[in-house]
Structures are given as C-alpha cells and as structure tokens.
C-alpha cells in the first residue's frame, strides 16, 4: 500500500512538473487560425521567423479550412484569423467576432487536370466555360467539400457558369471533405480535375500526371484578409500582440516579405494591402 | 492497553454449509479448545477443508453459529491459515514474511528481527533473498508456515500441510509444528494421513459426510474407537 502511495506521489509530482514546464514558454505568443493554403505552401515558414526576429512574438498557426478557421475565431480559440473568403470575412466582422478586416495579399486559383485532358479544356482562359465542359464530359472532378475558401470559390464559379452543382452532380463529381493537399492527392491518384490555389499547387510534390489546365481568368482571383478576434467578445484575446502581427503584415516590411517568398523561382502571393477595396 | 480477548475456544453450533441442495457440512456441536493440536481426519470430501475455512472465518456457514472465545464477530487478527497449496507472493522469501508482518500491523522497526527469527524457525535462513517461487515444494510449505506465524496467531489452522510432500519434507514440517505447539499456539490440522494425526494430535475429530462421527482424545481414538466408521477408517477400509 505504501509503495502505491509512493508511486502516486512520484507520478503526480512528475506530472505537475511536466505540465508546468511549458507555461513559461507561453509568454509572448499568439494563435493564428489560418488556411491550409498559407501553411502548406510554406508562406508562414518564411514569414514567421522574420516577424519573430523583429518582435520576439511566437506565432502559432493552426491551419484549417477558411470556414473552420473562422469558427475557431468565433469560439475565441484564436487571436487572429487569416483566411480567404471575403464575404464570410465581412460577415465575421459584421457579427462582431472580428474587429476589422484588413486586406493582405492575393494569389490565384488554377484549375488542375490530367495531361490527357478528357474534357478538352487545356489552355483555356475561361474558367466557367471549362467547368461546363467538364460537367458535359462527365470528367472526374474533385471538390474540397470542406467549407474552405477554395470550396466556396469553386461553388461560386459553378454558379457563375450556370451549373446547379447540387442538382447536376453525378458520380464524376467527388466531394471529399478534406484539405487542399488531400484533394490534390486524390486528383493525382484518379486523374481528375480540381480547383487549387496556386501556392499549394506549386509546393505540391505528388503531382503524377497533373498539370495546370486553366489559369489567368480574372474570376480566379483569390484575396486574403486578416482580422483580430474581437476582445469585446473574448476577453482573453491577446489584443496587442495580435494587432502587432496584423500591423506588421500590412506594413511595407511585411508586404515585402510576402512578395519575397518564392517557390522554384516563382512568386506565390502578391501583397495588396495598400490597394483600396481589396 | 489490555490484552486482546482470546479467540479460543473455537465453537461450532448447529453449523451447516449447503451448496445448492447438497449438504457439505452439518455439525451439531464441536468445541476446539486450547491445548495440544487437534487433528481433523476423514476421507476426501468429508468436509475437512470446509470446516477449517469456517474456523478461519473465510467462509460463512449457511446456518448455525461459529464463535471464537464466545464471540461471533471476533476479529481475525490472531488467527492464521495455511492452505494446502500455499501461493507465494512474487517476492523474495524475506519479503513474503515482511508482507504478512506488515498486514498484521507489526511496526517496521521490529520486522527485520522477526523475519530472521521466523526464517530460522522454519530453517530457511539461507534463503532470505531467494525469490519465493524458486523454492522447492517443501521449502515453500515451510515459508508459508513462517508467513502464517508472522501473524502471531493463537489459533493456527492448517489444511493438509504435508499432503504433497515427501517423507523428509513432511517430517521437517511436523517438527516445526511440534515446536510451534510447544509455544502455546493452538493448532488445528486436517489430514487424511493417520500417521500425522497420531504423531501430532492431542485430540482427533473424525468427519464423514460432513458430520462429526467421533471427537475424542488421540490416545482413545487410536486404541478404543467408539464407532464402526472410526474402526473401518483406521483399518484402511474405504469409507464412502
């Protein structure tokens, strides 16, 4: 019996020590809920060390789909939300969950498809026409289906193309409910079309026979915005640290850092914080 | 502090044990008093082990009373039991005794001395640090005896302590029991070996089909048995 008590005391002490250890490290840090595209493309890996060097603030990025990231902000589990779905962002601010939306940068979506191009859309600059052709050909198409910014953009493009995807979808339209990477992996494995953000595509390594089929359409423009979670809703939000991250992102230094990030010599994100109405 | 009440005599009154509708034990009256060892003999299945377990308080009778020193709910602090096949804890010989001492609330300070004494008593002084389960059958039986004695019992109940031992090992156990009895500890031992009963016991209880057939002094039991069953049992006839 005494031995058991000893074990409990030792165990509990070790535990208390172990759990108290990382309290110290939590001093100067914020949590940013962002999207898979900014993390998987490596952008944050480039930005955060620069920001940390300047301010000493640890930025902890949780990567989720845009919808989920906004939810995380709504629950107060993040200090800053950094996503790409403008209408949802504006609603987030209007509902009082975010303080103010600031435009940060953009990149664009590209339609990825197999080299064999069964829907004959390769080289087109008209995304809606391409989508209609895919539908008509019944060529396999992977949808994120996860309420992410990319998913929202895809649904919006179907709508502009005049396709009621909820009604028209057949076995060719595969809704996987997963992140960008998983969607690209699935497309690669099944030679399907998929809408992706350029950043993730450029840093994606398991391409197989996939290539860019459609790019350059103005409607493929993809704007990123950043918001501080409203401290009036969630008192624990690290207002000052979070705001300094936002301020840095839209400062000349932050904007330059974004422009400087390249994969294979190609710029992934285009800063536009100073462009009115972005 | 006053001396604890004595747990003796051990008395059975109208004690019955039933399993389903089978009657395992049915004792009108039996008194086991302090003094020389009591041997409980009888063929297999006669209820010897059940009687012993009830005497220890490990088993509650279906009906009737069992009392220790006149009390029904006497604490079992000064009773000890040696099972026919004792189970050694997965520890050293010394730790096995230490465990029994600790569970009998013997203060830590005196345990070391008691362990040496008990190991010496059962002739296992050299095996102190040996894992108990690595000992031979006879050694384990003696260690179990030391463990039982660690409880400083006034009543020691032993279930066939020599049944699975060769003659030399059995003699070693019997010698210890004689020594223990000499210290005033009341021994109740079940056995189907009449030799053991003859050598050790002051009185003998013959059980047959759960009933006490005869309870008398050892000298009388072996020379002038009163019942037919006792005569036949001693003659080596099969009592069924």
């Amino acid at each position: 019996m005494r031995k058991l008590k000893h074990a409990f005391v030792i165990g509990a002490t070790a535990l208390a020590l172990a759990l108290s250890q990382n309290v110290v490290a939590q001093d100067k840090s914020i949590i940013v809920a962002s999207t898979t595209s900014t993390v998987d493309s490596g952008l944050f890996g480039h930005l955060l060390p620069l920001f940390k060097a300047k301010t000493g603030i640890d930025v902890r990025v949780v990567s989720q789909g845009t919808g989920q990231a906004l939810d995380t902000g709504r629950r107060g589990d993040a200090d800053v939300v950094f996503v790409h779905a403008r209408s949802q962002e504006e609603k987030f601010v209007a509902d009082g969950f975010g303080v103010k939306r600031s435009a940060v940068m953009y990149n664009d979506f590209v339609l990825i498809g197999p080299k064999s191009d069964p829907a004959k859309v390769k080289g087109s600059k008209d995304i809606t026409a391409a989508l209609v052709k895919i539908r008509n050909a019944g060529a396999p198409f992977i949808s994120r289906g996860d309420k992410s910014g990319t998913h929202a953009a895809e649904l919006n493009l179907w709508k502009i193309a005049g396709v009621d995807i909820a009604k028209d979808k057949g076995p060719w339209y595969r809704d996987i409910g997963q992140g960008m990477g998983a969607a690209l992996n699935t497309a690669s494995a099944s030679n399907a079309y998929v809408l992706a953000d350029r950043g993730t595509w450029l840093s994606f390594k398991n391409r197989g026979d996939l290539i860019i089929s459609v790019e350059g359409d103005k409607r493929l423009f993809n704007q990123y915005g950043v918001m501080l979670v409203n401290p009036a809703k969630h008192a624990h939000v690290k207002k000052d640290l979070g705001q300094s991250f936002i301020d840095w992102l839209i400062s000349p230094a932050g904007q330059k850092a974004i422009a400087d990030y390249k994969v294979g010599g190609e710029q992934l994100f285009f800063p536009n914080a100073t462009v009115p109405g972005a | 502090m006053r001396a604890p009440d004595s747990g003796l005599p051990l008395q059975f009154e109208h004690t019955r044990v039933e399993a389903g509708n089978r009657r395992i034990l049915d004792i009108e009256a039996l008194t086991i008093a302090s003094g020389a060892p009591t041997a409980v003999v009888g063929p297999n299945g006669s209820g010897k082990t059940t009687l012993l377990r009830i005497g220890m308080g490990l088993l509650k009778p279906t009906a009737g009373r069992v009392t220790w020193g006149g009390r029904e709910n006497a604490a079992a602090t000064r009773r000890a039991f040696l099972f026919q096949r004792p189970v050694m804890l997965m520890r050293s010989a010394a730790s096995n005794i230490d465990y029994a001492l600790a569970s009998a609330d013997v203060p830590r300070a005196v345990r070391k001395r008691k362990i040496s004494e008990l190991l010496a008593l059962v002739g296992l002084s050299d095996f102190e640090a040996r894992p108990a389960r690595h000992l031979s059958g006879g050694e384990q039986q003696r260690l179990a005896l030391a463990r039982a004695l660690a409880r400083d019992p006034e009543l020691l109940l032993l279930d066939e302590p020599t049944a699975s031992l060769d003659p030399a090992a059995a003699k070693a156990v019997e010698d210890i029991l004689r020594e223990v009895a000499g210290r005033g500890i009341k021994i109740v031992v079940t056995t189907h070996d009449l030799g053991t009963a003859r050598r050790l016991a002051g009185d003998v209880v013959l059980l047959h089909r759960g009933r006490v057939i005869e309870h008398t002094l050892s000298g009388i039991f072996f020379t002038q048995p009163k019942t037919e069953e006792a005569r036949r049992f001693q003659a080596g006839d099969l009592l069924i």
Partner: protein
C-alpha cells in the same frame, strides 16, 4: 528555442532532392529521406520526435495512475454491475481518437466549460486527450492480467486480512512486469494516433507538431516519401521502446522470481 524556419525548409528541400535523386533505384529507398534527416541531426525533426515522446509518455503516465488501480479494482472487487463495468471499459478501448479529440476540444475551447484554462492548441491539451483515449486500454488490459493473479492471491490475502486497497496495491506491485504490456499497448496507441492530437493540438509548427501530425501534413503536401519515411522513423522508435520494455520485463521477472 525556435529554430529559424529557413533551416527546416532548407533541410526539407535537401531531403526532397536526395529522395528524388535516389528514387528510381527502388521504392524502399524513399525511407532514407527521413533517416537522412535523423542522421544529419535535423533540429525540427528532433523537436517533433521529442514532443511526440513527451506527450505520449506523459499521457501514458497519467493513464497508468488512473487505469491501473481501476483495472485492479475491476479484477478483485465484487460489486453489482461489475460485468457491465468490464464490458463498458473494454468497449471504450475502441473509442475513435477523433471523437475523443472532439470531446476534449469542446471541453477546452474558449467557449467550452474549461475554456478559461486556455490550454487548447497546446501540448497539455494533447496529453489530456491521449490520456483519456488510453486509460480504458490500460484499465482493461490490467484487469485481464490482474484477474489471473487475483485467482492465485485471493485466499492468501483474505487469510492475511488484507484490505481492498492493500490488495490493489499488492496486485499492482506483484503484477508490475506483466502490466508493462498494458502500458506498452497504451503508449503504442498514444504514439500512433493522429485524430485526437491534430484536433486539440492544431499541428502548430514547432509547438504541437508530433510525428503523426507531421506525417498527415506531409501527406497533404503530397510529399509521400517524406511521410512514409517519418512513419518508418516512428516505427523504429516504437520498436526500440518496446524492446527496452521487454528487456526490463524479462530481467525484472527473473530477479523477482515471477516467471
């Protein structure tokens, strides 16, 4: 504390280059990429391994403190509904990690009942989730092991007047080497699961990224060789820990005479 990210990106690309260069020589060579990182002492990889071990070992410790006595009690205490309790604990072994993760997430979310602790997306949240996940495993396996031991010990301990708490302690102590198997099963499950830690930890680079969440991330980035390589490294670590534990068990059993 935090390594510059450029270092990990550099080594990641180096690894990728190496992997690509040797890929054509055979599938098995893809494993080399992660081992390459291991050998070259990639700090990001070591931090990930360190966090995985820290989280899973701490979770195992907590689960042991709860699960072992619980298993012992289920083995020896006779009470109404014991069989139902045993069935229940056994069933909980099959709990999907995601469900546990989600429950802990809702509990620890700022909008949840324990939100004020502010530990969502920290290693502590991951420890809690894993501890909850594996406590039933440890309890159920401990019960099984100790029930066998209890059959042997029950009468002896009863004759020595040992209390329930004392019996629990005795079973745990004397069964300690066999119980190692239960602990290893729990630890293995904790190490291998991804569903719970990714939900409550958030897979934050340098903070809550473990072996399994890193594997999930590399998979989603399409870097399948690196993902498989990391999986192989994880496997090697788990095998090493199991080997050590078995060695301890064998030696301990021999010395204690339990075998």
């Amino acid at each position: 504390m935090n390594m510059p990210a450029s270092v990990c990106i550099f080594s990641e690309e180096l690894t990728y280059a190496v992997t690509n260069a040797i890929k054509f020589r055979g599938v098995e060579i893809v494993f080399l990429s992660a081992f390459w990182m291991l050998i070259t002492g990639d700090p990001a990889l070591y931090r990930i391994i360190g966090l995985s071990l820290y989280v899973s070992l701490t979770a195992t410790l907590i689960a042991a403190l709860v699960g072992l006595p619980l298993g012992a009690l289920l083995a020896l205490k006779e009470f109404r509904g014991r069989i139902a309790a045993v069935v229940f604990v056994n069933a909980l072994m099959g709990m999907p990690p995601v469900v546990v993760g989600l429950a802990v997430f809702l509990l620890l979310s700022r909008s949840g009942p324990l939100g004020s602790l502010g530990i969502l997306f920290t290693p502590r949240a991951m420890i809690i989730a894993q501890a909850i996940l594996i406590t039933p495993i440890i309890a159920a396996l401990a019960r099984q092991t100790l029930a066998d031991l209890w059959v042997q010990y029950r009468d002896e301990l009863a004759a020595m007047n040992v209390s329930t708490a004392g019996s629990v302690a005795t079973l745990l102590w004397d069964g300690r080497f066999s119980l190692l198997t239960a602990l290893l099963a729990g630890f293995g499950r904790a190490c291998a699961e991804v569903g719970a830690v990714i939900v409550v930890g958030g897979n934050i680079d340098g903070f809550t990224r473990t072996m399994t969440t890193a594997i999930a991330l590399e998979t989603s980035k399409g870097d399948l060789p690196l993902a498989i390589g990391l999986g192989a490294v994880l496997l090697v670590i788990v095998i090493a820990i199991n080997a050590i534990a078995w060695a301890i068990r064998r030696t301990g059993e021999r010395l204690a005479g339990a075998a």
